[in-house]
Symmetry: D2
Subunit: 338 residues, 4 copies
C-alpha cells in the first residue's frame, strides 16, 4: 500500500521480480489513483505489463489471500492501520516511522494520537526493528516489522558494532554528518524539492531535530547528548553518504577496527566492509541493496572516520523491506535481488 510514492514504487518493482512472490496487490488510498494504474504514474513499467491500483479494503486483502502487508504510507496512517491488520492475521512490514521507536521519549517527536493507547503501547513493544543484521532472529517470527529509516540505516550499520566493541569514547561525542539524495524527501512536489532550488546547491537541514535521531540512539546504544546527527540535501536523485567521526577509548590499529566490523557482519550478505583507507562512494551501492562501510584511522590511532553509503530507496527503504520479507519467510536474503 502506498505504491505510487518513490519507496512504494521501488518495492513494487522488487516484488514483481521476486520468484517466491505471487502477483502482488497494489493498493492506493488516493481518489485519483484508485481505479488507476501504476503505469499511469510510472510509464517506465508499462513495457512489462499493466498494473491496476486497487482502493484499500480489508475485504479485498482477505479475498486476495494476502499474507503480508507492506505499508509505504504516512506514519499516521500506519499507526492507524496496523492494529487491525494484525488482528486480521496479516504480517506487516511498515516503511514509515510509526513503529520504530522503543522509548516513549523518542516517540514524542512524531506526536502519535493513538485511538487505543494501550494496544499501541503493546505493539510498540512487539514491533521488531527491521535491520536484519541486528535483529535477524526476532524477524523470523515477527508479525510487525518496523523498517528502518534511510539515514538511520547508514549510521547504525557502522556504529552498532563499534559502540558495542567498547572502542568508542561515546562521552566525547559521536558526530554523524549525513548527506542524502532528493528522493528521500518524497515524491510530493515542494519548494524544497524544486529542481531549480536543488540543482547546483547543497544545504544542511533539520539540524539537532531530525526524526531519525531516536532510532540511531536506540539501535546504536547511545545517550542523546552523545550524538550529533546532521542531514544535508545532495543535488542527486538517490543515495546517502554518512561521514561519522569517533574518538576512541584507546589507540587502536586499523586491523582491530576492520576485525570488529568484519566479525560483526560475518555472513551478512548485504554489508560490504572496505579495507582500511578505501572509502565507499555513493555510486558504488546505487540500485543495489548494499550498505558499504569504509574507514580511515587518524595518524594518532585515537580518532576514526567511518564512511558509509547506501541507496536510500534500496537498503534505506524498499530493498531492506524485501530483505526483511526474505528473513520472515526463511528464504535466502539475496532472493529476489538481481
Amino acid at each position: 500500500m502506498g505504491v505510487t510514492g518513490y519507496a512504494g514504487f521501488e518495492l513494487a518493482k522488487l516484488l514483481l521480480r521476486h520468484p517466491r512472490v505471487a502477483t502482488p496487490l497494489f493498493l492506493s488510498r488516493s481518489g485519483e489513483a484508485a481505479g488507476g494504474r501504476l503505469e499511469g504514474y510510472y510509464p517506465e513499467i508499462g513495457g512489462t505489463g499493466s498494473y491496476p491500483l486497487e482502493p484499500f479494503s480489508w475485504e479485498l486483502l482477505k479475498s486476495s489471500g494476502i499474507e503480508v502487508l507492506f505499508l509505504a504510507t504516512p506514519h499516521e496512517l500506519s499507526r492507524e492501520l496496523v492494529p487491525e491488520a494484525l488482528a486480521r492475521g496479516l504480517r506487516v512490514v511498515d516503511l514509515s516511522g510509526a513503529w520504530r521507536l522503543k522509548q516513549a521519549a523518542n516517540r514524542a517527536v512524531y506526536g502519535f494520537e493513538d485511538q487505543n493507547a494501550e494496544l499501541a503501547a503493546e505493539l510498540d513493544r512487539t514491533a521488531v526493528y527491521g535491520l536484519p543484521e541486528l535483529h535477524r532472529e526476532e524477524l523470523r517470527e515477527a508479525v510487525l516489522v518496523a523498517n528502518p529509516g534511510c539515514y538511520a540505516t547508514s549510521v547504525i550499520v557502522p556504529l552498532a558494532p563499534l559502540v558495542r566493541s567498547g572502542l568508542v569514547d561515546t562521552a566525547r561525542g559521536v558526530v554523524c554528518d549525513c548527506k542524502s539524495g532528493v528522493s528521500g524527501a518524497g515524491k510530493k512536489p515542494t519548494q524544497k524539492t524544486h529542481f531549480v532550488e536543488v540543482a547546483g546547491n547543497f544545504s544542511a537541514y533539520s539540524v539537532f531535530g531530525h526524526r531519525h535521531t531516536g532510532e540511531i540512539l536506540e539501535q546504536a546504544g547511545l545517550y542523546a547528548d552523545e550524538l550529533i546527527f546532521t542531514p544535508h540535501l545532495l543535488p542527486i536523485p538517490r543515495g546517502i553518504l554518512s561521514t561519522i567521526y569517533l574518538g576512541l577509548t584507546r589507540p587502536v590499529t586499523a586491523k582491530e577496527i576492520e576485525a570488529v566490523l568484519r566479525e560483526f557482519y560475518s555472513g551478512a550478505q548485504w554489508i560490504r566492509i572496505f579495507e582500511h583507507g578505501k572509502l565507499p562512494q555513493v555510486q558504488y551501492s546505487l540500485h543495489t541493496n548494499y550498505c558499504d562501510v569504509g574507514f580511515q584511522l587518524a595518524p594518532d590511532n585515537k580518532r576514526l572516520i567511518v564512511v558509509s553509503c547506501l541507496d536510500n530507496l534500496m537498503k534505506g527503504a524498499a530493498g531492506q523491506a524485501l530483505q526483511n520479507l526474505n528473513v520472515m519467510f526463511g528464504w535466502s536474503e539475496r532472493e529476489g535481488f538481481q
Copy 2:
C-alpha cells in the same frame, strides 16, 4: 510586480543595480508575501539590504511616483491590469504573454476573457513586441511593451533576418528543436519540476502546441504550416539552446549567411554572431543578456543548421525587459548590465 517568481526576482536584482533607476518598489499580490520581504524568498540578497514587498495598490504606485510598471505576473492578471495602468499614465513592460500577439487566431490559445473587449483589441494593436533588435524605433515611445517569450526570442533572433533575406525555403518547412532549463517552467513546485523527475532525465513537451508558436510565426514572418517548434526540458536550472533546421532557396556560401546575420544585427549590442562552424553553447551566455547565434552549412550548401543560445531569465525575460527600459528612455542598451 510579481517579484517573487524567478523572472521577477532576476529583474529586481537588475533594477537594484541600474544606475539610472531610483529605489524600485516591489509589489506582490499574494497574501503571504504582502507585508513580507524579498530576502524572505531569496536569502541571497540579504547581504546587500532589506527589501519590503508591498501589497499592490494604484494609490501606492501614484504616491511613490512610479513611471514604469513591470509585470511579471500571470497573463490573465496582466490582461486585467494593463488598461487601467495605461489610463493612469504609467508605461508598462509586461513579461507575460498577454499582449504579444497581433493576430486574433494566434491569441486564441490563451483564451483571454477581456472585460472591455474593444479596449483590449486597441491595446493589442498598440502594444509593441519588445525585441529591441526588431522594433527599436517603436519601443522608444511605447507605452505598452510586450516582452517576448524566452523560446520565442531564441528562435526569432536567428530566423527573422534569414527569412527576410529570402534565402529560406519556408515552404519546405522550418524545424526548431528547442531545449530549455527548468526555471522557464516557473517557481511553483509541480511534479514536472521535482528534482527527481528532472535530474538525469530529458523530455519533449507541448509538441505542436506550445504558446510561443504564435509569436514566432508573427515575428519571423512564417505561416503556421511552415513552422515546427518543439520544446524540450533540460536538466539544468537555466539556459536555452535552439537548433534550427532550414532549407535554402539556392546554394549559398557561409559568407553570405554570416553577412545576412551581421548586417541585420549591425550595432546590436546584445547579439553575438559566431563565425561559420563555431557553435554557441548554453554556458557562454548564462547570466548575461546575450543571444548567441552560430551556424553550420551542409556540404551541399543547400541546408543550414542554426544554433542559438540565451539565458531564459536574462535575454529571455528580465534582461530583455531591462534592455527595453533602456530603449524606452533613450539610455545606452548596456546600461545597468555589468
Copy 3:
C-alpha cells in the same frame, strides 16, 4: 575484451548475471590493467567477487574454451583482431564501428588501414549489422556481428519501418535532432567530458559530420541528402533521446502510424511503442534494454514527430550485444536481463 571502458564494464556485469554464460574471461590490453582486477576500476562490483583482468593472447582464449569474443575496443583494433579471431573459429560481437558499414563511401570516414584489404572487404560483406529487430535471421548463424552505434539504434528503430512503409516523404528531408548523455563519449577524461564543462551546459557537436550517419543511411534506407543528423551533449551520465521530424507522402491518421510501428515490431521484446501523443522520456528506459518509441502527428496530418529513447550503454551498446548473443545461440531474447 576492453572491459574497463563504460560499455565493456556494462557488458561484463550483464555476462556475469547471464544464466547460460559460464564465467567470462575479462581481457585488457593496457599495461596497467593487465594483471589487475576489474574491481580496481569499478569498486562497486567488489561485493560480489574478484575479477582478474587477463592480458590478451590467442592461446589464453583457446585454452579457456572461449566461443564468443566481445570487442569493446577502439575500431582500429577491432579491424585488426577480427580476421584472426574468425580464422581461429571464434564468433565475434564487435561493439566498435569497425564492421558496421556496407558501403565503401560510408566507411571512408573511419579511414581504416587494413593489412589484408581483400579479406577485410569480404568480412565487410559477411558482417551482420547487429540490430536483431532488423536482422534476426542472419544473426542466428552470424560469425561476425557489428553491434550498432547508440545514436544509430535510436534513429533506425523508428525510421526503418516508417521509411519502408512508403509514408515518409524522404525527398523533403528527415531531421534527426539527437541528444545523448556523457558516457557515450567514453571513459577517457577530456576537456569535453570534464564535469565543470558539462554540468549546467548543453551543446551541439559533429554537425553534418558524425560517424553514425552512414549506419543510419544504410539501415534506414535513405540517401545522404535526405538525412540531417545532429548530436547534442546532455548533462546526464547516460541515456539518449532522439527527436525525428518527418514529412509524410499523404495525410495519415495516428492509427496508421501506430499500426505501421506495431506491426513491424510485432514480437520484438525490447521495443516499446507508445500510443499516440504519449512520448517516452530518457528516464523510462534507463538501465533497461528497451528502445521506446512515441510519436505526435501534426494537426494537418502531414507532418510527424517521432521521439525515441534508449540507454546508450544498454540497447545502445552492451544490452544490444547481449541480445545479439541470445539470438546467435537461439536463446530467449530476454535471457540474462532482469
Copy 4:
C-alpha cells in the same frame, strides 16, 4: 599569470571590470596557449573583446609597467618566480599554496625544493596570509600576499573568532566536514573530474591528509590533534559548504555566539552573519565574494554547529585576490565587484 585555469579566468574577468585597473596583461606559460587568445579557451568572453595571451617574460612585465603580479600557477612555479618578482619591485598576489604556511612542519606536505633556501625562509616570514578580515593592516603594505585556500577560507572565517573568544573546547576536537564543487579540483581533465564519475555521485577524499589543514591550524589557532578536516566532492561546478562541529567550554546562548561573530566581523563587507537557526546554502553566495556564516546551538547549549558557504572561485580564490588588491592599494573592498 595562469589565466587559462578556472581561478585565473575568474580573476581575469574581475580585473577587466575593475574601474581602477588598466588593461591587464594575461600571461600563459603553456606553449599552445602562448600566442593564443583567451577567448580560444573561454568563448563566452568573445563578445566583449579579444584578449591576447602573452608568453611570460620579465622584460614584458617591465615594459608594460605592471605593478602587481597575480599568480594562478602551480605552487612549484610560484615558489620559483616570487623571489625574482619581488627583487624586480613587483608586488605579488599568489593564489597557490606556495607561501601560505608559517610553520615549517606544515610546509612539509608540499615538499618545496627552493633554490635559495635562506631567501625562501625569509619570504615565508614576509608573506602575508591574504584573508583581509584577519590581516587587513599587514596587507596594506604587503609585497607578497599568499591568497588563502578555498576550503581554508570557509573554515577559518567562522573558526577564528570563536576560537579566540575562548568559548571553544578545542581539546574536545573540532570537526570540519567540508564539501566542495568540482572546479576546486582544477581544469585539467582527470578520471576524478570526468562527468560520469561525478554526476549523481558524492565522495570523501584526502581524509586526514589535505593540504589546507596547515593553513587552518595556523590561522584558526589550533593544534594538529584538535582538528579534523574532511573534504568531500559535490556534484556541482562551484561552491563550498563547511559544517563545523564545536564543543563549548561552558553553556552559552545563541546571542553570545552571534555577538562574537558580529563583533569580530564588524565592518567586514564580505562576511554575512546569519541569525541563529538560519543556515546559509551554497546557492546564496555563488558568483559573489561573500562568505556566509550561520549557526545552530544544541538544546543543551554546550555544542555548536556552524555552517559556512562561499564560492570557491570567488571568496575562495579570485574574488579574495581582488579584495586583497583593493586592500593593498587602499581602495574600497567592494571596488570592482558588482
